[in-house]
Symmetry: C2
Subunit: 526 residues, 2 copies
């Protein structure tokens, strides 16, 4: 799939309408200048009005010009064809089965939220939020993830315990890389556990779920990186980062999976004003990864153990790794101090799963060589104990932990696999094709079709009045429809129907009243 | 659910920042006035810049003021809780089964389209389209229905034959009436057949599908109104409507299901400038409804039969009603000359299903008495042979016909039914709850849980370190979990697990290695 840039041909009007528009613009300018300094309380409303008028002028300009008509989906989005949908449904089934196996319920929320609901939750990523146009009602934005709407849902309904999954599309005005499965509209499959529980038990179940899903989808080797925001903040403090820079430095560390330490260091020092020696101390820590032995090693680090946050973070990591062992997924995890996650709202454990095998390369055909290193993160999440409280009028906190499966990248891989296998993916489930080789049998075909539908059999017929028998056979074969029910003058006279097996080409004749039973027996065993 | 109006508290600043903002506004006004008349080609771009600056000023004003924080979903939208989701999933299953029984594939398209893709397709309804903010890329709008994106998909991929369903949310800035299931964000379930086929065969299958779905959902009596745009246009011509007023008069007729003929007549005469006697002639026709006998009656109408469109429309209606009879749904349809449908793109047969029984009243609790007359249309559609051609660079036409199930209104009814029945709706599928009555058994509970998960059993455990046994029993009972797997010191020593049936309270003990098989036998028969 090729990405295309959008463009608008430059307007080049010199028509008589220009003068009229020009006059309107001068008037708008006058009105804006004329807003009274003693009535700033009315500015907002008046500005809205003038913005509306300017936008309408702009639209007139746009409509008046010849535009190249574009037959495409918006940048960073795609359609799913029936074949892709069949693959997608399979992936969803695996994921939903896993969520249900862990006792989750499901909810749904609107695709847009009040803009203020999203404000202040995403840190530097907030610039990627899609806003809706101000059409004279509420100010709305498309959801950026499913976590913030979930927190809003909990606070709004005063729910303090729930284990839910939510599968829905989210929207980010990011730079798309569609060959690698990075889109502006994409599905997230979220599993979250809300409630006041004992340390690290739900947190470990989230790791287990990611491991189960990635194993079952059969997308090759993967590793789930684990870290902890408390530990990161403690480490920043120990290294000498001022507290007001924790989040921005954290967001720099987050880039380590895509770029070199040198670039991250220079972002910290040159852009974010960190002392070079502080950055270097951070550099020492973020190269560390391991499992329980790394926890032990850091527990020997006196400076770290003196910091309360770091100590708490390490204790949590120890417990989490122990529980991962009990859940049989220790071999799938790596305690990685370079894992930071971009979003502001995490307060404890953080996760990120990446694919490590080379099978993923299959799906980067035609992509830039340098870009084909990996599909990157396929799942991520963490603990966010403060988010629900941001929505509660009294600030009541509901501790939460969850993971999100980045399904589009997994689709890309599954699609490439299906492509490589060149196997036929059936996109319909039709069991019987009602056919006739004779003319003027349309009404009889319709009646027979109706009989099968009423009997719950998935049935199709040709929409032509007098289709050729060969074309009907061909249709059944091409669409993988296992049986044909064939009628003609003789069959009608005898009160029978001929049933043809599409693959063996064997034909049998049954009395019409026994047809449903015979078909049912055949489709259940085929 | 109560609707709430959005509002913004009036800003009331008199701060030192006011003066600065005031100066900025004067500057913007000057710049707009300063646009040069000899460079209209640059206006559009400059207006964009000034709009951005005004918007940013507006935002500063907004941010500076105390706003009442609103914990709500946007106007006209709602969340679905787990109970509602369980009901929704059931409804979807019925609908998807029906679509698959008729051999349909499925596709998906993005939630937004280029604005120009939607332009000129919806007639007077276009004002209800949600636009996205201009954030410096393409100009986008949320989809208004699934039909236009489907036509865009066909033209873009040069597909001329497909039978597909598409279940997704669409967006309309309409006046919401949520107690009656009318929302601004709502699901549509569309089934469409594209392709050059013989007259009325796919058209009749669409009627059959609506009848099957509404019957299976068990929402009471219903009637599927049928009409034909060709017949309507022919009838308008016969009555003396000028050709350029066909669509606007059609859109007036469309209101007949919600309002009286007198109001529609006055819209035609006073607003749309139709001669009173022409309106009265229309009035004579639109009161007619029936079945095949009405077709025969109209075929006696000499004036009608002289008009080519009317004649063609009547012949199509005759054929459609005959096919409806073959498909066993004649008793569910009514040929109704008052049916017009609002959208511009229909070119032939049109459908609309309405519920006629009184069961629907259950769901209008608390709604205004006058509003509780009915949930109105629950499905609609028709033939649109010109729409795909509007997208094809060469104007190549692909004839299409389809129906859309208005699922939200059906949900409202199903929800009310579930409420009235007061039955417990299970929102999870958990089969086993792993429990212990002793302390320090967390790790053993986790191990047992893992064993069951690995065996594919839907299992939960308490996230507390030392939960009380009674609380664990209670959890299983409240959530309808049929079995508990209980362990303690003794069970561990003996290598056994106690299985408790939640409803009968019977307990049996099994060797740990036989547990999976025993559980599987029990859950498959329970």
């Amino acid at each position: 799939m090729q990405e295309k840039e959008s463009y608008v041909l430059a307007p080049c009007c010199r028509s008589s309408g220009d003068l009229q528009m020009y006059r309107q613009m001068v008037e708008i300018g006058d009105r804006i200048k004329g807003l009274k300094l003693d009535r700033p309380d009315r500015w907002k409303e008046r500005i809205s009005e003038e913005v509306q008028k300017l936008l309408s002028l702009k639209e007139q300009l746009g409509n008046a010009k010849p535009q190249k008509f574009q037959l495409k989906t918006p940048k960073g989005t795609r359609d799913y064809n029936p074949r892709q949908m069949a693959i997608r449904e399979g992936v969803f089934k695996t994921i939903i089965n896993c969520f249900k196996r862990h006792g989750a319920e499901t909810i749904d929320t609107p695709v847009f939220e009040l803009k203020e609901t999203l404000t202040g939750k995403y840190g530097e990523d907030a610039k990627l939020i899609y806003d809706l146009a101000d059409q004279g009602g509420e100010i709305l934005s498309l959801r950026y993830d499913l976590t913030v709407p979930f927190a809003r849902y909990l606070a709004m309904n005063k729910i303090s315990t729930i284990k839910r999954y939510h599968i829905a599309k989210v929207y980010r005005r990011d730079n798309p890389a569609m060959t690698r499965g990075r889109y502006r509209e994409f599905y997230q499959c979220d599993f979250d556990i809300a409630g006041q529980y004992d340390l690290m038990i739900p947190d470990a179940e989230c790791v287990k779920i990611v491991a189960e899903i990635l194993s079952e989808l059969n997308v090759g080797d993967f590793i789930i990186k684990l870290n902890n925001r408390l530990l990161l903040d403690g480490m920043f403090a120990v290294c000498g980062v001022p507290e007001d820079k924790f989040r921005t430095i954290c967001s720099a560390v987050d880039k380590l999976d895509k770029t070199f330490w040198e670039d991250v260091r220079s972002e910290m020092v040159d852009e974010k004003g960190l002392a070079p020696e502080v950055a270097d101390r951070i550099g020492e820590y973020v190269r560390l990864n391991g499992q329980l032995e790394l926890v032990e090693q850091l527990m020997q680090d006196e400076q770290m153990m003196k910091n309360k946050m770091a100590r708490q973070g390490l204790e949590e990591m120890k417990l989490l790794l122990t529980y991962c062992q009990l859940f049989g997924v220790l071999n799938k995890v790596s305690f990685d101090l370079s894992l930071a996650r971009g979003l502001d709202y995490y307060t404890g454990v953080i996760y990120e799963a990446i694919l490590t095998s080379t099978t993923e390369k299959a799906q980067t055909d035609g992509a830039d060589k340098n870009e084909s290193v990996g599909v990157g993160s396929v799942a991520g999440g963490g603990r966010y104990d403060g988010l629900v409280g941001m929505f509660d009028p009294k600030g009541k906190k509901v501790p939460c932990v969850g993971v999100s499966i980045g399904i589009e990248r997994l689709f890309s891989i599954m699609e490439a696999k299906a492509e490589a296998a060149e196997g036929k993916v059936r996109t319909t489930e039709t069991q019987v094709y009602v056919a006739s080789g004779q003319k003027n049998m349309l009404e009889e075909r319709m009646k027979l079709c109706n009989l099968l539908w009423e009997g719950g059999i998935k049935t199709e017929l040709s929409y032509k009045k007098n289709p050729k028998l060969l074309n009907q056979f061909q249709y059944a074969e091409e669409h993988g429809i296992p049986f044909l029910a064939i009628i003609g003058e003789q069959e009608l006279k005898d009160g029978v129907v001929k049933v043809r097996n599409t693959s063996t080409r064997e034909e049998e004749t049954f009395p019409r009243e026994k047809l449903l039973d015979e078909i049912r027996t055949r489709v259940s065993s085929s």
